[in-house]
Symmetry: C2
Subunit: 95 residues, 2 copies
DNA sequence: TATAATCCCGGTACTAGTATCGGAACCATG
DNA sequence: CATGGTTCCGATACTAGTACCGGGATTATA
């Protein structure tokens, strides 16, 4: 009947998402990245710090666009429950 | 100071998203698709009918997974303001 | 030390998303 | 006609996301 609170798994996935975005941002400033993506710096900060576990699809898509990330790669990486043998976004950035 | 209401462009983009998901679902029932994606049928229905313009990223990702859609393709298709020369999700489904 | 840049945090305010219930319409079957 | 499957809708209820403000901590540089 009501919206269910976020469960721990969703919270952890949100933290993985935030950490991934922060690593992908690298040297760029949070302010510029947020403005370029069309979101407020506060929103980006909350997402990166994991305080917003399930952000809106357009929000993540806009940020991923600015950072040059594939949404499919982001999703597959944060959605996996355990370690995988896939090439991670980090590894792709390093190449 | 407060969360800004959705502007018309965001509403229209949400409608394009819903229409795209509905076309991609094709023959499959809304109920099965929603349950398989782990969302409530009502939520899927609201997204498909465009009544929810900016759904959560995990929600869209889970639905796209079930439907076999690429998140990048979905985003690029609904985010474009005008017609494009790209291969659309529809055309990809038809091939 | 001073100045700027960046990031963090708590508080506040409001809209939006997710979910359930009850009912109704439609269409294809039996 | 009856039954089931699917979709739709309004109402309701609650949490979550987005955004701004003020302040503080850190670092680097002048």
């Amino acid at each position: 009947m009501v919206r269910l609170p976020l469960n721990p798994a969703e919270v952890e996935r949100g933290q993985r998402l935030g950490a991934l975005l922060r690593r992908a941002r690298g040297q760029r400033s949070m302010l510029n990245t947020a403005l370029e993506a069309g979101v407020s710096p506060e929103t980006l900060r909350k997402i990166e710090t994991g305080r917003v576990a399930t952000p809106a699809f357009p929000t993540i898509a806009a940020i991923a666009d600015v950072l040059g990330l594939s949404l499919d790669a982001v999703w597959s990486e944060i959605n996996q429950t355990a370690g995988s043998a896939q090439i991670t976004v980090d590894e792709r950035l390093a190449s």
